[in-house]
Symmetry: C2
Subunit: 318 residues, 2 copies
């Protein structure tokens, strides 16, 4: 088997490696492509975070969750609400297909992406600070220099939840503790075909994007089926779309690959553009302002000149 | 016949119209595509600018000419020299295949693109000022508002001379007074395939560009064979390449289609970028500086984001 294995359809099977964290780290750093580490030690959480035990051990507290009527959450149509719920109640409800108590309707689905602080005082998520009563159950994989760690995020989802395609500016490992998930990823070089709005793709249905999104790469993508205990490496800027098959808990650990000066210091979610990227996009707005002073044919011409220069100076040569 | 006529090869025959200047002006303005006006009145020059008569009537003066050993002048390899010669002598030598008096060798070729002033005091070329003794022989076509006129340039070339592909930021009409020429043009939308260095294409051989220039549009181009008396409309930003079949004299008249604020006031040749275009290309250099602070994969990603935005906001929708 070649590494990684690309099917006739164009879909790449993300390699699943059963090796040590040390060996994995080496492959990860060299390849900078998605990889799954299977059979690694994530701590006692893989045994003790069953819904019942987790619910028992968590201290009661209000958390903010996405509550949706449809399984595919869509930020464009906003087919979900943000609601506050006690975390014990969340774990209870998220296991069930239907619930007698609900916000919207009986079969609503739940998704927690833990945040720290409140809307007036946002902080970077950190499992130790946010859920100290369970954080020692999870062993942060030894896959990056600890001083480069950015955040650790607890994720709880109902079966069926799919999160929209997006990218993060930091590297991350998605540690699937319980439950199974499908992960679909695309390389950063697909940026122009993703129909981005900020860090999110506007394409809700990644299998049949529809005529609005003719360039969306339906088959040119990387896939993995995650099982409990799996660690998925998502390199920075890789687009990813996660679909939960059943109730599951995950911890997502983010770290800064680059010097910290490149990251926006006010970035709490790890999704603000890198400083030089943000500056570039702002300067580009000024270019567009200049060019649109000209009649369309002239604007087109100079835009093409700019594009040619960008391609020549900044695109990776394959 | 459709208008214009595109051959199976992809080559477009530039329409040749035998209509009045008034009618031509209308078609020209509406289409903004290359067109030839044939049989129009250019003044007595079409009768009186034979080599003998022209030489007689011109006052002696030193002019600066391109002198080449090869017929295809190439700004990259600099296969020509700039030399000063009396204009009467130029007209004499340029008619001949070989000359006993020469700068480089017997079969050298000559090309005059008249300039005004000297290198320390450049001025915009103007036939009236530069060659008052013959300027009234040439009637400026009534194809644009006179107050938008930019320059009028006398061109004299030996048979065989080919001038490198380039574009001008002003509209122009190429008035072929004597001699025949092949004109090859490409639309501004080909900018990314022309391998530009400033306003010039680096591709010397437009028929077999070579492996260095894989995207150069060999067949997707517009062509016309110019005869004495023909007026070729070259819209601003259209790339053009002119090849003289025999000794010939032309007057090239340039004018500003847009408000004059868009043109660089220090532009003597009509080849400096339009002000918003120049600003954009300078800002783009700053973007490239920012992006190349990042590792190549990150630079590639943000360059693609910029390209997507430029394409979306500034490219003409077909």
């Amino acid at each position: 088997m070649s590494f990684p294995f690309r099917k006739m359809s164009g879909i790449v099977n993300i390699p699943i490696l059963e090796i040590s964290q040390e060996e994995f780290r080496k492959v990860m750093t060299e390849r900078r492509e998605p990889l799954v580490l299977r059979g690694s030690d994530l701590g006692s959480c893989t045994r003790t975070w069953s819904p019942e035990k987790l619910s028992e051990r968590l201290n009661p507290r209000q958390v903010r969750v996405h509550v949706g009527q449809e399984q595919d959450l869509d930020f464009r149509t906003k087919n979900f609400k943000y609601c506050d719920i006690d975390i014990k109640e969340l774990v209870k409800r998220a296991q069930n297909k239907t619930n007698e108590e609900f916000f919207i309707d009986k079969s609503e689905i739940y998704y927690l992406r833990s945040i720290s602080g409140d809307s007036r005082n946002l902080q970077v998520s950190n499992l130790d600070q946010d859920f100290p009563e369970i954080s020692s159950d999870f062993k942060i994989p030894d896959l990056f220099p600890p001083d480069q760690m950015f955040s650790s995020v607890l994720r709880i989802s109902s079966g069926g939840v799919r999160i929209w395609t997006h990218y993060d500016v930091t590297d991350n490992v998605y540690c699937q503790i319980t439950g199974r998930k499908s992960a679909v990823l695309w390389p950063p070089s697909q940026a122009n075909n993703m129909y981005l709005q900020g860090d999110k793709s506007m394409v809700a249905d990644i299998d049949s994007p529809g005529s609005e999104f003719p360039l969306f790469p339906v088959s040119n993508r990387w896939e993995a089926e995650l099982e409990p205990g799996d660690i998925l490496f998502i390199p920075s800027l890789w687009f990813h779309n996660m679909k939960a098959h059943d109730f599951g808990v995950a911890v997502n650990v983010f770290w800064k690959e680059l010097e910290s000066k490149f990251y926006d210091p006010k970035d709490y979610y790890g999704n603000k553009e890198l400083v030089p990227g943000a500056k570039s996009l702002t300067m580009l707005d000024n270019i567009i302002k200049q060019l649109t002073l000209l009649p369309p044919q002239y604007a087109d011409f100079y835009a093409r000149r700019c594009v040619e220069k960008l391609e020549k100076k900044c695109y990776l040569k394959d």
